[in-house]
Symmetry: C2
Subunit: 309 residues, 2 copies
Amino acid sequence: MSDERVLAIDVGGTKLAVGIVDPGGRVETYERTETPKVDAEGLWRTLESLLDKLPESDLIGVGVGCGGPMEWPSGEVSPLNIPGWRGFPLRERLRERYKGLPVRIHNDAVTVAVGEHWRGAGRGSRNVLGMVISTGVGGGLILGDRLIDGASGNAGHIGHIVVDPGGMPCKCGGRGCLEAIARGPALAAWAQAEGWRAEQMIATAKDLAADAARGHPIAVAAMRRAGRALGIAIASATHLLDLDVVAIGGGMSQAGPMLFTPLDETFRHHARMEFARHVRVVPAELGQTAGLVGAAAFIYGADRYWNAD
Amino acid sequence: MSDERVLAIDVGGTKLAVGIVDPGGRVETYERTETPKVDAEGLWRTLESLLDKLPESDLIGVGVGCGGPMEWPSGEVSPLNIPGWRGFPLRERLRERYKGLPVRIHNDAVTVAVGEHWRGAGRGSRNVLGMVISTGVGGGLILGDRLIDGASGNAGHIGHIVVDPGGMPCKCGGRGCLEAIARGPALAAWAQAEGWRAEQMIATAKDLAADAARGHPIAVAAMRRAGRALGIAIASATHLLDLDVVAIGGGMSQAGPMLFTPLDETFRHHARMEFARHVRVVPAELGQTAGLVGAAAFIYGADRYWNAD
């Protein structure tokens, strides 16, 4: 095994994580902290203090996954859930810190999809949709064995496929998007409106999944509702893209068969073209570290996963 | 200008067309005939008699667009609208006829999309969806300046994006697909059921577009119905793929503003992510010869448009 190492960074609204990843995709060293609610420079100092704990020998590059939106590939980030960073020049700051090393950054869901393709559930397949279902519904696409960036680095937004044209308004300004139905908070809110834990101020999608597993009828119906919306969107994506594998991760995917069974039924109901029948819809494999593994792939697998400067 | 020339073939249910295409994408020589309703060898002889009329000097390759489905890239074709060919080894036959030359074949809608990217409405853009709306609704994808084939050569099937989950059954076996609503014959049948030309045995989408242009209310409503379904599907594709250009061709696209105005309204209603706002949805430019131009691009533009053996 080579001595080369990549420094990987995962910036999210809940946590900041950094690690050293080896060429096989193993996370050797790992540090994390809650994302503090502070101003831009305070947040940068928090990230730097995490980075200070990592060894810097044998580094060949820095890979980053960060919550969107961002200017890509220039890497000025404005993560929806991190109000302190608006147009923050994350890529430039990291280039200053790690002089001479390539620094590469992409949206977090894209990074997770790359991780699953490189070392997870999509390994060895040429056409993969990686999805993250949690407080939002995001994704990334590897087609023809190469990451698809789109015109502005935004390819993969499966959360904004329209699954119910006359349906609920979406935060994006549209209507009936997958995300408006299937993101965790929307699903919990729907169940509360139907009478589930109606007395609580806040009930989470995690509570919902737990209650569904115990057979609570509204919770079960909510998971079915999410599964159906996901099945429609994945059928559309499969017909449009002729995929091999759809790998589904994120907190909501922990719900297991409560989610995957209705998802699969609806998917098979709509994905009827002959070529769509061989697609495998599977849980993601990498879990919490998918973002770090994917970020490392922007360096180790640059021929497939990095098409920018 | 180089002396190189490509022989291009366009096999459809209505017509067979062949031509010589120069490196600039101009069709120099063009021959066509109606597709005869004969057996496999009879059809092959018809194609050969067309090919016999073409000059063969300076040929560097043969490109083919053919109605699907087909085994790809091996090129055993079973065009839905040509019952005489089922598993017909078109690529192999052409290789025997044009010994030593590369012969490359793809689905007809993919070929048209490639033509529009190479020399038509998508010229100079890196992320293009090309669509053909006629008796079916097909398409092809160029992403990151490269043709997307999918796992089995079937990427681009935008006609089977789900736009109305509880809607009409589709020939594919699914429900609520774009094609089930917006393909010409379905649209004409819908209008007849609503009372338009109800006394006629058969009325065509061409009649429908003409009547819509004259202000017939049911015909206008039919075009709006198609436009809305198209707008939803294109919004979903744009969000998923972060496109630059959507180029729309095929007979139905001749309807002009009667179709494009409701299409654009619905598209803008649903495509609300900031990155989706710069997309241009435009009529295709190449018309009847798009298939020949695209077929030639499999040879001239092999680095971008041909990823197989």
